[in-house]
Symmetry: C2
């Protein structure tokens, strides 16, 4: 059987009318020799509403209970989508993360999938039913509910596509694909027809709307991923391996992310093991550290800066403050009003000219650079939040991304 | 360990402030040698809201999907209660029906508990945590989600109390206990301090707010059940075995229920097996038939009337119409605007005077009686819906229930 996995985001499922439209779209695919697996996010702003509700109860709710609370959002949307499909005459069945066999580790709130046993899904497909699977959620060995972290439904969809040997994973959202930059910031941003996993991964990490783990999984299991709008019939962007040669040789896009906090530890003894001593406790507390920069040291003391997402800023600061005296650091400071901007493209490999062009463009736009990091296919600058839009606009223009 | 089970209804959990008040009440009980198990219904009108949502999608949604949808309501309330308890410094953990070991049969929407394995609850109590269990829901052998039917959280609470050998099951709701009649109808209705299971069972079936299956379970496993208000500190009503002798010898209360439809099948061949042929298909379709009356027959043909709840009226009519020609019945008719009114009390056993007094009171109040049924401790009349209030008032007065 030819299997297709489709994932629908919350904005595509925001109300009963939208759910009916999505069910119509799903049934277009359904035929005797195609098995359709649908992965749903929670309806509209449900997840935010549930978060707000929990914060009325507790300023720091347990992550385990948050997972129980948030997992309900996808159960609601999936049962309604299954009802809508049945109403159109297409037998369908909703499946929770547990029923779909999505086993995870126990890190509540950001669990990773450890094992996928989709036998129930296969059984339903073989019986001619559409399987409607709750995205974002899983379960542990001990039958605890877990969630995969914000945007985790993308990961659910790609993981299922990989486990089921699906032909394709289609991610439906409220944008028409992947653009050279955010069209709300850059008016002549261009939709890409295709992009490689690696490039998409860098764009996703740098702020484009796609869960990075889903791209990693897609790359690992070679699952072609189509990102398209659920509100139109425009062809979206296909993320796959080895895109056309003609697109290899240039910057593919500009990404920005305003969710950046920078923490600086000053007077760090410059000796082996000190970085591990600083970052191990953060890793143990599941604080995800992004960019790390260590300044050159003069008097055997050095400064170390790193960025975390704003939601993890407070817990990171508290952790670092609890260990600075043990480790002999002098002080900790932080900045919250930062953002990052990146240019991404496999064509950048071993081509130093791109970095120079980026810094020149930012300088001309009067954007101050706080930190710089690079990967093989990406250059990222940490800048002031207020400068993000003009940074993205100047980079899009400097790299001529509006041109095919 | 001394175990107490407390159940809170939706009105007690309607918003974050009420949830905090409930959590305060729960912690009053908690001590080193008392294990507390809390069973929660869905917050406020959540269940009705979810039902309305499903009806925007489908006029006749699958019962399986309704169970998935509705089960989310209790997951939300339980996770929030667990958060509120933790916030007050009392470790707590929410448990879904599955995690609490509440296994059921597969009749979606009205599943019965088939097995209860509360080992996870016991483990949590032994670790000093309050277990907050989702009421109303269970799971089948095949890991399907089920619900126990409207008001099923009462059943969850009493079943858990029985399985855990709890000292007491406390049902907290928005009324202060069980009354001799609905205080909104009878101004001098009196709160009962205690009542026997059997009497309560008849009152519950006859419309008082308590899930009848929970009373049956309480009687079967001899679990004392306290019904009280979560909004006050008034002593509620204790439902238990062998209440005081002094209350044995009289009518205990008047109950009314407006949720009654009557179906009459005319021209039924008066031969053995015909009742089974009519009611077996209804039972198989999970239609719950209440009062059944068969009129005396003249010419080997008889009329048979029975009542069902209004929500099951349409499916019952459709079913009966599909079989009347096979069974040789002449016609089917139905009435929707009916209600039932009952007087209940163990003191009524073998005392025909009570029935006479009931009929006299109803007659004086100009209430027309459509059907009459009796049990050992109850007399029920099916009457017009518009006459309910004056029927209840006249019966309460006739039996002098306002007096201690």
């Amino acid at each position: 059987m030819n299997i297709i996995v489709q994932k629908y985001g919350g904005s595509s499922l925001a109300d009963p009318e939208k759910i009916k439209l999505v069910s119509e779209r799903i049934t277009l695919l359904s035929s005797s020799n195609t098995g359709v697996v649908v992965v749903c996010s929670a309806m509209g702003d449900t997840t935010d509403d549930l978060l707000a509700l929990s914060h009325e109860i507790s300023s720091n709710p347990s992550k385990r209970e948050m997972d129980v609370l948030l997992a309900t959002g996808e159960m609601v949307s999936c049962s309604l989508v299954a009802m809508a499909l049945s109403e159109r005459g297409y037998p369908a069945v909703s499946l929770t993360g547990m029923q779909a066999g999505i086993q995870t580790e126990t890190a509540h709130g950001s669990a990773r999938i450890s094992e996928l046993n989709p036998h129930r899904i296969i059984e339903e497909l073989e019986n001619g039913r559409i399987a409607v699977v709750c995205g974002f959620q899983g379960f542990t060995e001990d039958h605890e509910l877990t969630t995969l972290g914000r945007g985790g439904s993308d990961t659910t969809a790609v993981a299922l596509a990989a486990a089921l040997g699906a032909t394709r994973c289609e991610i439906y959202t409220d944008v028409e694909g992947i653009y050279t930059a955010d069209p709300r910031i850059v008016s002549d941003a261009r939709k890409l027809i295709e992009i490689e996993y690696e490039e998409m991964l860098e764009l996703a990490v740098s702020g484009a709307k796609m869960h990075p783990r889903s791209i990693e999984l897609g790359a690992l299991f070679d699952v072609p991923i189509l990102v398209a709008s659920s509100f139109s019939n425009e062809k979206g962007t296909l993320i796959h391996k080895e895109a056309n040669m003609e697109i290899q040789n240039r910057v593919r896009g500009v990404a920005a992310d305003k969710n950046v906090s920078k923490i600086t530890v000053r007077g760090v003894p410059d000796k082996p093991g000190i970085a591990a001593a600083l970052f191990s406790p953060l890793a143990e507390a599941n604080v995800s550290v992004d960019t790390i920069v260590q300044n050159a040291s003069a008097d055997d003391l050095t400064d170390m800066s790193f960025t975390v997402s704003r939601s993890e800023h407070e817990s990171a600061i508290a952790l670092v403050e609890s260990i600075i005296s043990d480790l002999g650091f002098k002080s900790v400071s932080s900045e919250n009003n930062l953002a990052k901007v990146s240019v991404v493209g496999t064509g950048m490999q071993n081509s130093p000219g791109y970095a120079a062009l980026m810094f020149k463009a930012l300088s001309e736009a009067k954007v101050n650079i706080h930190m710089i990091t690079t990967s093989e296919i990406r250059i990222t600058c940490i800048i002031d939040e207020e400068a993000v839009n003009r940074a993205v606009q100047s980079l899009h223009k400097a790299f001529e991304l509006e041109k095919e």
